[in-house]
């Protein structure tokens, strides 16, 4: 079911695409097209390029020759020459037409292949919003992982990208399988562009558009996936995971963070992809389990410890319902405080800590995950036996015991 479009495709451009036209290819493209359709686009692009160079050099050579040869000589008139020549004019009308028809037909064929998804592709939903992307996998899970572009774990075919200004989401996708996105926007228009796939398509509010791609497998030199401690990740069978990353750019202007609306498509083997989306599947998990998943996947662990030791940010051990001294006075770390600290971290800063917590959006941490986080914090706090936050605030006006 999964390998419908891989016939004749070996997985690297170098095999499938060489010819007179491919010279200079690397001036225009940073990476090989990541699938047969992308390679076909590159081929058409380079063919047009060399045809254009031919015409341009031809025309300019004639122009420069005329300008030098027929430069003005004082006292000498321009000699007579006919100002009209029907056969010549017909020829220079018809020859370009032949080129144009060829380019049009090539463009049309490759376009149809790019747009029409195979019937057996994996169907997912891609949601665009100011200024983020989310992918909902076939099992309802969505990726909680994100990273700063340029961190060591990102692999754009040997280039590491660059340090971004904020984390961008990572979407794990299986290699050598057609994937079909149903795309919709929550607000204004966006456009989903993966340059390595050589396709973009607009994303509208209130209307579905589609996008499909099939990515080549990571090549033999691709690096291995590592966890946050730098240890190589293995599958249940003990196999190491090779991966390759592709940029996602928003290509339709959408406001202040249009240029920050990036993402990463991470191509991994099918079995690892399946394991990953099962891991993120929050269905059937308890709120505490969901909270733990979010804690691990959203990068909370980088600053917030669970064992009470001091990190770059307050530890979560015994945090829930404790008293926190902040620049806005002492507050109780109740449900609403936690919610506020995640969505608008700068609102209150705990004394002794810098204000460097990233902002999370409701798209990154939805209500269910937020509830999960709170439940998870509650499960590791000794103050949680005081009960529900609201009851606590109403029934017990005394300050809670001091934080240790």
């Amino acid at each position: 079911m999964l390998n419908s479009l891989t016939s004749g495709w070996t997985g690297t451009l170098a095999d499938g695409a060489q010819g007179w036209w491919s010279y200079g290819w690397n001036w225009f493209f940073r990476n090989y097209g990541a699938n047969p359709n992308a390679v076909r686009t590159d081929r058409l692009y380079m063919e047009i390029f060399w045809i254009s160079v031919g015409w341009f050099v031809f025309l300019m050579a004639i122009m420069f020759y005329f300008v030098i040869k027929y430069r003005r000589r004082p006292g000498l008139p321009a000699p007579y020459s006919p100002s009209h020549n029907t056969p010549l004019e017909l020829v220079w009308t018809i020859i370009p037409c032949i080129f144009l028809v060829y380019i049009f037909l090539q463009g049309f064929h490759a376009y149809i292949d790019k747009l029409i998804a195979p019937g057996d592709s994996l169907k997912m939903t891609l949601t665009a919003m100011k200024w983020n992307w989310t992918v909902t996998y076939p099992n309802g899970a969505s990726s909680p992982e994100n990273t700063l572009i340029g961190s060591d774990s990102v692999n754009f075919g040997g280039q590491n990208g660059s340090p971004g200004s904020r984390p961008v989401p990572i979407f794990y996708m299986p290699a050598k399988v057609p994937v079909h996105f149903n795309m919709i926007s929550k607000d204004v228009m966006h456009s989903f562009w993966v340059p390595d796939f050589r396709v973009k398509f607009d994303v509208f509010p209130n209307r579905y558009t589609t996008y499909w791609f099939e990515a080549a497998e990571p090549d033999a030199n691709a690096p291995y996936l590592k966890d946050s401690n730098g240890k190589e990740i293995t599958t249940a069978q003990g196999k190491k995971i090779q991966y390759v990353d592709h940029f996602i750019f928003c290509a339709e202007y959408c406001g202040d963070q249009h240029s920050e609306m990036l993402g990463i498509i991470r191509i991994v083997p099918m079995d690892y992809y399946l394991a990953k989306i099962e891991e993120w599947n929050i269905e059937g998990k308890t709120p505490e389990e969901i909270g733990k998943l979010v804690y691990q996947s959203q990068g909370c662990a980088a600053c917030h410890t669970l064992d009470g030791s001091k990190g770059a940010a307050p530890t979560w051990k015994d945090l829930y319902m404790s008293q926190q001294p902040t620049n806005a006075g002492t507050v109780t770390a109740d449900d609403n405080y936690i919610r506020e600290s995640i969505y608008t971290p700068a609102a209150k800063i705990v004394d002794g800590y810098p204000s460097n917590m990233p902002v999370f959006t409701t798209a990154q941490i939805d209500e269910r995950r937020m509830q999960g986080l709170i439940a998870y914090m509650k499960s590791i706090s000794k103050y949680s036996q005081h009960g529900d936050a609201k009851t606590e605030m109403k029934s017990d006006a005394k300050p809670a015991p001091e934080k240790k």
Binding site: R30, N37, T41, Y45, I48, S52, L59, M63, V67, Y70, R71, L76, P77, A78, Y80, S83, E89, W92, C97, L100, V101, I103, F104, Q106, G107, F108, H109, A110, Y111, I149, G150, G161, S162, P163, S165, R166, D187, V188, M189, S191, W193, V199, F201, D202, P205, N206, T209, F247, F249, C250, A251, Y253, G255, D256, H258, S259, E260, P354, S355, N356
Partner: protein
């Protein structure tokens, strides 16, 4: 004002050559101002348009430089050691305290410095960038390129080339200038009260929801709406002028090709501009009354807006480029003293382009429309390429066996052929569907349309200005320094925009305030190119100012042109011609006609073949 004072100084100096010149002041300073403000003389209106357009070009150019400067560095957040009030590093438990700073937001930093604050979020700085590129786009399209050649050079030279005293409706002509100024004031006001961040295309639903408390977008859109009327009235005026006011003896195929191009342009303006008028008005209604035409949240359709918008804005691309074709069709024959090759082909190519231009708007929406529409529009788009290519071939063929003088206008015309060929050829991968899905909305498109719009229209506008400057102001300019300026512009232009083709195909999207490191080097090169471009234009400005203040008096026909404007004095008298001219030769009959004001000794005619008639 320099112009007036200067020509007046000439008079006082006793030269007396300017007697009856349209530039001769009428009495004192205020009387002169009043005379210009109420003039119905097409030449004065043309000069006023020229001043207004050049001023807006300066504003738009400054915005472009701001955009390029912002893009020198990408936006990044960094962790740095926090400093205390005493300037020392803050320490806690023996470790430095870290804080987050945002770098690479030049515009945001400037604004924050102006307000005495510190940048606190990426959004703030990006917002300044978004306003700058919107400002650049809206000004350059609506207030510079569209009116540049038609309203300034067209107004000045259409009646002169037709041998007429004025345009058909002189009062309407003045009105259209005032409408232009009003529209521009609306746009400038919208900038002054905070600017617009929609991009010049005002795509919905972004444009109907952004900055919801403010009237900026409505003001800017109304500005563009008002400017449309100026465009319609000018177009209407020119169509009637061409039909009714040709000099005796001038048939349709005796008209200079500039007139043909302006005629085609005017037809597009009259037919297409009302559509954008209605669209922009609907956009205002949408914003103010929330009527739900374009905004999906209200049940509207955002793609409908794109169809309406491009139904105008694609033909208007040819409103921008056709006049440039006209100017080139004048400059090349005049400066190579050669009959234009394939006059009828060039004339009909203008009309053909105008016609087909109405059928290709959909190629702006390949990434948003269905397969059938995209395919049809792609095919029609390639159709436009044919008449355009034919014109380029004709211009180059005209050079054959010419007597080519590398004057500034001619140098610019040759640069146009170079730049426009690149602009046209890079349209091919954008017209082809498969490649467009990659290149659409990337820097490739930015580079392509700058090669066509700037390398085509603006370069030609400057070429035309140098070609007709002696006629307009009666002064020559320093050709050496003008040529130096032209070369700086040419090099700066290519450095700025050729790099952007690579950026685009490598994946750099348009309208990004920031980018990943891979694109840094090319952006730096592009930005330095834009500074060079600025220097080049400044050289031209100085050359023109020098010409007005201290330029040699221009002869009536400095280049040896055959079209009727060269029969008039330089600058022309108030009524253009002493006697109504009678057309006895074609506009490009260089082989059989000694140009007006030249004599047969300076201009020996070539031997004709025996069968020539």
């Amino acid at each position: 004002m320099t112009t007036l004072d200067n020509s007046r100084a000439h008079e006082l100096g006793g030269h007396g050559h300017h007697e009856g010149s349209y530039l001769t002041p009428k009495g004192g300073f205020w009387a002169t101002v009043w005379d210009w403000a109420t003039t119905v003389d097409h030449k004065k209106i043309g000069v006023m348009y020229l001043c207004a357009v050049l001023f807006m070009f300066f504003l738009g150019g400054m915005a472009a430089l701001a955009v390029r400067t912002e893009l020198l560095n990408p936006v990044r957040t960094e962790q740095v050691k926090a400093l205390g009030a005493d300037g020392k590093e803050l320490m806690e438990n023996g470790k430095p305290v870290m804080k987050t700073v945002i770098t690479g937001q030049w515009l945001g930093d400037m604004a924050a410095w102006w307000k005495g604050q510190e940048l606190t979020s990426i959004d703030q700085g990006n917002n300044w960038y978004n306003r700058a590129f919107t400002l650049h786009g809206a000004i350059m399209v609506f207030m510079v390129i569209i009116p540049s050649i038609p309203a300034s050079l067209g107004n000045f030279f259409i009646p002169l080339m037709l041998g007429a005293k004025d345009v058909a409706f002189p009062r309407l002509n003045l009105l259209s200038w005032y409408i232009y100024v009003t529209g521009s004031i609306f746009a400038v006001c919208s900038i002054l009260i905070g600017g617009v961040d929609t991009g010049w295309t005002f795509y919905t639903p972004y444009s109907t929801t952004t900055d919801a408390d403010h009237a900026n977008v409505v003001l800017m859109v109304l500005g563009a709406f008002i400017l449309g009327f100026s465009s319609i009235l000018t177009g209407l005026n020119f169509v009637v002028t061409v039909h009714k006011l040709r000099a005796p003896g001038m048939g349709w195929f005796d008209m200079p090709l500039f007139i043909w191009a302006m005629y085609s342009t005017s037809i597009i303006q009259v037919l297409a501009t009302p559509v954008i008028g209605i669209t922009l008005l609907l956009l205002c209604f949408e914003r103010i009354f929330r009527i739900g035409i374009f905004d999906p949240a209200l049940g509207g359709d955002p793609v409908l807006y794109q169809h309406f918008f491009w139904f105008y804005s694609h033909p208007v691309v040819y409103v921008m480029i056709l006049p440039a074709f006209g100017v080139i069709s004048e400059i090349i024959p005049v400066h190579s003293h050669k009959k234009i090759f394939g006059y009828r082909a060039v004339a009909f190519a203008s009309l053909g382009v105008a016609l087909v231009s109405f059928l290709v708007w959909g190629h702006h929406m390949f990434a948003s429309s269905g397969e059938l529409g995209a395919t049809v529009f792609s095919a029609l788009t390639f159709l436009v390429a044919i008449p355009t290519a034919v014109k380029v071939f004709n211009w180059i063929a005209t050079l054959y066996k010419g007597s080519i003088a590398l004057t500034t206008p001619m140098l610019y015309a040759l640069m146009f052929l170079f730049l426009f060929s690149i602009g046209g050829l890079t349209g091919l991968p954008l017209g082809a569907l498969a490649t467009d899905l990659h290149l659409h909305d990337s820097y490739f498109v930015v580079a392509h349309f700058h090669y066509v719009m700037m390398g085509g229209t603006i370069i030609t506008f400057v070429a035309g200005l140098h070609h007709w400057w002696p006629k307009m102001f009666g002064k020559m300019y320093n050709q050496f320094w003008a040529n130096v300026g032209a070369w700086i512009v040419f090099i700066g232009f290519n450095v700025t925009f050729f790099t952007q083709f690579f950026l685009g195909s490598q994946g750099m999207p348009r309208r990004y305030a920031s980018y990943v490191d891979e694109y840094h080097t090319l952006h730096v090169i592009s930005t330095f190119g834009s500074y060079l471009l600025f220097i080049g234009f400044m050289v031209h400005l100085l050359v023109f100012i020098h010409s007005l203040v201290a330029g040699r008096k221009a002869p009536a026909n400095p280049w040896g042109g055959l079209t009727l404007e060269w029969e008039a004095a330089s600058p022309p008298s108030e009524h253009n011609f002493d006697h109504e001219p009678i057309v006895t030769h074609g506009p490009y009959d260089y082989e059989t006609t000694v140009p007006p004001h030249w004599n047969a000794k300076d201009y020996p005619l070539p031997a004709l073949p025996a069968n020539h008639h």
